[in-house]
C-alpha cells in the first residue's frame, strides 16, 4: 500500500524523523488555515502517488495568504498524469543548503535489506544511477544484524556525504531503518534528504510503501486504507476481502491463486479477448467468498461474460460449486458464466453444479482452461 507524501511524513514522525511543520487540506480555506499554523513562507504540494509533480506545477511556494489561495485553487483538482489532486500538503518552506538521497528496500535476490544512499539528492535516483552509478552507495544489511550507527556512519563516508552533515545523516539513516523494519515498509525513501543552512538534517519528501501482510500488527494503518485511490469495483472488492484489480476488458475473471488468475488473463488475451479484472479468491475460498466475487464482477457494467477458473488445492471443488449455486440464486447475474473446475474434490463440485438445475444460458462447464477461455471470449463478443 503506497502512502501519500503527507501520510509518509506523519509515519516518519512516529519514528522521530524530522519533517516540516504542516498539514493536509482538501479546500482552499483549509489550506489557508494550515498555512497559518505552519508559518509563512509555505510550500503547497499536490498529494498524488505519481512522480513529476513539480514539473506539472503541483508544487508552489507561497509567501502570504493570497498566494496560498491562488496556488491551492490551481492545484486542487489538477490532473497530474491521470491522477486528480484531491488534497494538498501545506508545510513551512525550508531553506536548503544541500540535498541527499536515502532509501531502504528489501533486495529480493540477496534476501537482505538494501540501503541506497547518495550525496546527489533532489533528482530522480534512476537518473543519478544512469549518469554516475558510483554516486550511489548500495549497502546490504542482514535483517538479524540490523543497522548499527557505526555502519550507517561509514556508509555516509562512502557516499561522500560532507563532514558537516555526517553525524546527522547517519543518525537519520538509523531512524529511517527503524521505520522501514518496525514500521513494516516495503519501501522507505527520502528524496531529498536536506541539510539546512543551520546544520540540521530534515526529510523534505517521504515515499513510503507498506506491506499489507503486516496489517495485523498495525491497527493505525486503517486510516491509510481509507484514502487509497480505488475505483468503485475495487472498493466493493476491498469490503468483501477479495484480491481484485480493475481492468478495461469485457471478460470477468475469477480464479483461485494469483498465478492462475494471471494466467487466466494471459489466456483470455491470447484467444482474442480482454479481461475486465484480476480477481484471486485465494486459498480458503468458500461459498461466501465466491458469492462476494460474483457480486463484485456483476457490478462492472463492461462485463459480458464471466470466466471462473478453479484448480482445487486448499479450495475444495464442492465449496466452489456451492458458492456458485448460492450466488446464482442471490445475485441477478447479467452475464453468463463459463466454469472450469479441477483438482481437490472437483468431481463432487461438478456434480453439485450439474444437479443444481441452472440453465445453460447462465452457466456452462468446459474441461480445460483454454477451451473455457475461448467460450467466455466468444460470449463476450
Amino acid at each position: 500500500m503506497d502512502l501519500f507524501e503527507y501520510q509518509g511524513k506523519q509515519y516518519f514522525a512516529k519514528y522521530n524523523i524530522p519533517v516540516s511543520a504542516g498539514g493536509v487540506a482538501t479546500t482552499v480555506d483549509e489550506a489557508v488555515a494550515v498555512a497559518l499554523i505552519a508559518k509563512y513562507p509555505v510550500v503547497v504540494k499536490a498529494q498524488v502517488q505519481v512522480g513529476g509533480r513539480g514539473k506539472a506545477g503541483g508544487i508552489k511556494l507561497a509567501n502570504d495568504e493570497a498566494e496560498v489561495r491562488l496556488h491551492a485553487k490551481n492545484i486542487l483538482g489538477m490532473d497530474i498524469k491521470g491522477h486528480v489532486v484531491k488534497r494538498v500538503w501545506v508545510e513551512h518552506a525550508s531553506d536548503i543548503a544541500e540535498e541527499y538521497y536515502a532509501s531502504f528496500t528489501l533486495d529480493r535476490a540477496a534476501k537482505q535489506h538494501l540501503l541506497m544512499l547518495s550525496a546527489q539528492g533532489g533528482v530522480e535516483i534512476e537518473d543519478v544511477a544512469a549518469k554516475d552509478p558510483t554516486a550511489i552507495v548500495k549497502l546490504h544489511i542482514n535483517p538479524i544484524d540490523g543497522l548499527p550507527l557505526e555502519t550507517a556512519h561509514s556508509a555516509c563516508v562512502d557516499a561522500k556525504i560532507p563532514a558537516k552533515a555526517l553525524d546527522g545523516v547517519a543518525d537519520m539513516l538509523v531512524k529511517l531503518y527503524n521505520c522501514f523494519t518496525q514500521g513494516d515498509c516495503d519501501l522507505a525513501e527520502i528524496n531529498p534528504l536536506i541539510l539546512k543552512p543551520t546544520g540540521e538534517i530534515h526529510a523534505l519528501d517521504a515515499k513510503v510503501s507498506l506491506d499489507v501482510n503486516a496489517s495485523f500488527r498495525h491497527p493505525e494503518w486503517a486510516e491509510y486504507a481509507a484514502t487509497e485511490e480505488l475505483d468503485a469495483r475495487e472498493l466493493l472488492a476491498r469490503e468483501k476481502n477479495l484480491q481484485y484489480i480493475g481492468l478495461d476488458g469485457t471478460v470477468g475473471i475469477i480464479a483461485n491463486g494469483a498465478g492462475l488468475a494471471m494466467s487466466t488473463l494471459d489466456v483470455v488475451n491470447q484467444v482474442g479477448g480482454s479481461a475486465a479484472n484480476f480477481l484471486d479468491i485465494g486459498g480458503g475460498a468458500n461459498a461466501e467468498l465466491m458469492t462476494a466475487a460474483l457480486e463484485v464482477i456483476n457490478s462492472d457494467p463492461k462485463v459480458k461474460s464471466i470466466l471462473i477458473n478453479i484448480f482445487g488445492g486448499i479450495t475444495r471443488g464442492e465449496e466452489v460449486a456451492k458458492g456458485i449455486v448460492e450466488a446464482v440464486k442471490r445475485v441477478a447475474l447479467r452475464a453468463p458464466i463459463v466454469i472450469r473446475l479441477d483438482g481437490t474434490n472437483a468431481d463432487e463440485g461438478r456434480k453439485i453444479l450439474a444437479d443444481a438445475g441452472i440453465p445453460e444460458s447462465q452457466l456452462t462447464s468446459q474441461p480445460t482452461m483454454l477451451e473455457a477461455a475461448r467460450a467466455a471470449v466468444e460470449m463476450a463478443k
Binding site: P143, N213, R217, G259, M262, D266, F278, G283, T344
Partner: protein, 300 residues
Amino acid sequence: MAIFVDQNTKVIVQGLTGGQGRFHGLRNKAYGTQVVGGVTPGKAGQDVEGIPVFDSVADAVAATGANASFIAVPPKAAPAAILEAARAGIGFVVCITEGVPAQDEARVFATLQRDYPSTRLLGPNCPGIISPGKCNIGITAGEIAQLPSASGPNVGIVSRSGTLTYQALYELKQQGIGVSTCVGIGGDPVPGTSFVDCLAQFQADPETHAIIMIGEIGGSAEEEAAEFITNHVTKPMSAYIAGVTAPAGKKMGHAGAIVSGGKGTAQGKMDALRAAGVQIGLNPTEAGILMAEIVRTIRS
C-alpha cells in the same frame, strides 16, 4: 529417487488440530505420506484420527523420529513455528501460510542461514511438495500427480505459483508423463527455497530427466534461474511465465508479483530463459505440450 522428500520422510504437522492442518494433514496421510505426529501447544496426549499430538516440535521429534514438518498455522504464528522446527532439528520445513509479513520472512531466512544451515524451508505461502507415490506434504491434490515410471523419462516440476503448480501436474498427467518431484516454492518476496535450489537438485537427481518451470512476474528469481541453467543445467527444460498481460505497478495477488520500474516483466523473464535454452510456452498447456515433445525426443 526424488528430491527433498521420499517414502522415508517422516512428517509432523504444526497446527494439526486447526482446520487447514487437519484437512490437509489427513489428506497427506491418506496419500501414503508418513504423517507421524502433530504439534499444538497445550494439546499433548490428544490425537487426530490416530495421529498423536504433541506440545512442541522437540517432543514430537523425540517420540516419532520425524525429519520433516508441515506448517499450517496463521501468519502471526508462522515465523516462530518455522524456527521451532529448525531448533528441534527438522531438516525440511514446508510452510503453506499465506500473508506472512516480508520483514518476518527476511528475518526468518537470515536466522535459518546463520543458526540452522541444515534446515531447508519451503515457502511460506507455497502449495508444498509431492514426490508422486512416495510423499505429499502440503495442499496438492495427490491424485492429479502422475507416478514416475521406473524406466523414465520423468519430469521435475518447480513453480512459484500454487494453482499453476497443480496446472503443471495436470498437464503432464494429460500427456501421460511421470513426475519425479513437484516443488511449489511460493510467490512471496523471500522464499526459503528458490528456483536455483530446486534446479540444482533436479540436475543431480538420476530419476529426473527433464524439468518444467513455472514462473511469474516480479523480482528476478527467473533471471537468476536462467543464469544458473546456462552454467549448470544440462537436462532439457520447458517453462511458462504468468503475467504477460499484467499492468505495471499493480500487485497481482502475490506479495511478490509486481512489475515496477520496468523490472520483473514476463517478457524479460521469457527472454532470459529462452537465451538459456529453455523452451517457452505462452500458456501452461503449451508448456506441457513442449514438455511432451521433449519427453518423446528422450524416449526415441
